[in-house]
Amino acid sequence: MIAWAQGHWRALTATLGKLAANPFNTLFNSLVIGVALALPAGGYVVLDTLRDLSGGLSGDAQLTVFLDLEAKPADAADLQPKLRKLPGVASLRLVTREQALARLKQTEGMGDVVASLGFNPLPDALVVTASDSSEDTINKLVADIKALPKVARVQVDSAWIKRLGALLRLGRLAVVTLASLFAAALVAVVFNTIRLQILTQRDEIEVAKLIGATNSFIRRPFFYLGALQGASGGIAGCLIAMFGIWLLNRPILEFARLYGSEFQVRQLPPIDALAVISVAGLLGWLGAFLSVSKHLWQIEPK
């Protein structure tokens, strides 16, 4: 057990030594992998931020039913039970014209406008949440509501949320595709690095086999090399992604402030960075495994 652990420790330190002995090779290999990983990692963070942003908004379909301007409070009260009875209505909330006006007054810049009007231009409104957001249900509900008395207009509010949702799903697909492609690239890069390493260590491998090295003894340093190469690429990728986000955030904030928002893309969370690094390490190991399986058996002492 101790010998086993010592064997691994020796392989690990020898591999680290080998990486340190060729700092430029190591650096550039890490950079290649890092650039490949930074794109999906950064894309993932941006998407995540956007999803959080839209998550505060309900994805359920909402309809606003505007009543006639002439409608009396009694009419609104009359309409409510009728609406509740319609199929597809989950909940109902009344916004009276007075409440609507009060809210409008609070909106920046609108207070003066409203005051100058001298009368309330807003109708009573009923906010209906649909039980499901399928297009059929919504269309039927809109038709049903329009048929009710004193209803002036029905507005479907959640269409843009659906659009955003669809856009985010598209973005996620793009990120997943990108990540898969670059994962394959990572495996290929490590595969090739290990192949070259096996070739340069051909003599050593042959001698080791001749003096009693087991296959696992010979493979072990290559697995470490692949995993370390992948992980160092993962670290480089995270740093590049973080730097990119930091670079982007300044103009994004300036832009968002024009709209009175403090929106910023959040930095890559440590747990996700750790996930990127471990997955990169695992992929590196996979590349090394494939390369070793393919190339090592060709070296048999004669």
């Binding site: 010998a3 020796r10 003599d203 050593e204 042959e206 001698v207 080791a208 001749l210 009693g212 296959n215």
Partner: protein, 217 residues
């Protein structure tokens, strides 16, 4: 200790290196394997650590039939043998010390014990002062002695040497044979393939002669 029974070896491509070889090597014996080049000496030696496999017949090493040994058992067989190769197979990317250390690393020796054994082996072949040197900077005789140190550092009970004196002049050859004789005297079985009859005359031992792929005692 080592026993060849009706061993034949035909290489892929049709070259018949060994026809029908039968002989034994006793425990602690010093045995010369002679014959002109191409007689099959190297092939015969390669059968013992299962670098090559017999086409027919059996090779027994310490009672184990190495002609039918499983692939994953081969490394453990080789750890009990000291091999000295005709082309030396030293590694020129590391020091003499690290060359000798390799078999112990493979066998999983703890570092302190391994260092002690490496120095002991280098001392035995007279290279202790050159432990930090790269093998490239060593003379031919020194390189050959380094090979011997690497072969014996594991303390094997069988030592196999393929033309160990081919690359060195007569005086160094005698030095090398003296090292082998010393191991033989402490009970190690030593099998030396050589075509140098003068060497055999100066360091006597049993001789097995290979002629056209068969053994002549």
């Amino acid at each position: 200790m080592i026993e060849f029974n009706a061993v034949a070896k035909r290489y892929p491509g049709g070259h018949q290196a060994l026809h029908d070889v039968s002989f034994g090597v006793g425990d602690g014996e010093l045995l010369y394997l002679t014959g002109h080049s191409g007689a099959g000496k190297s092939t015969l030696l390669k059968l013992i650590p299962a670098i090559e496999r017999v086409s027919s017949g059996t090779v027994l090493v310490n009672g184990q039939n190495v002609s039918a040994i499983r692939r994953n058992a081969v490394p453990y067989l080789r750890r009990n043998l000291g091999l000295i190769f005709q082309d030396q197979k030293l590694l020129y990317d590391r020091s003499a010390f690290d060359n000798v250390l390799l078999p112990l690393n493979i066998a999983g020796f703890p570092h302190k014990e391994a260092s002690r054994r490496v120095r002991a082996a280098l001392d035995k072949v007279g290279l202790l002062a050159r432990e930090k040197a790269n093998p490239v900077t060593l003379s031919g005789g020194e390189q050959q002695r380094l090979c011997i140190a690497r072969a014996v550092v594991n303390r094997p009970n069988i030592l196999l040497a393929d033309e160990p004196t081919a690359m060195v002049d007569a005086q160094y050859a005698d030095d090398i044979m003296q090292i082998f004789t010393a191991f033989h005297q402490v009970g190690v079985t030593v099998l030396v393939a050589t075509h140098d009859d003068g060497l055999i005359a100066r360091h006597p031992g049993r001789v097995v002669r290979l002629e056209q792929g068969t053994a002549v005692q």
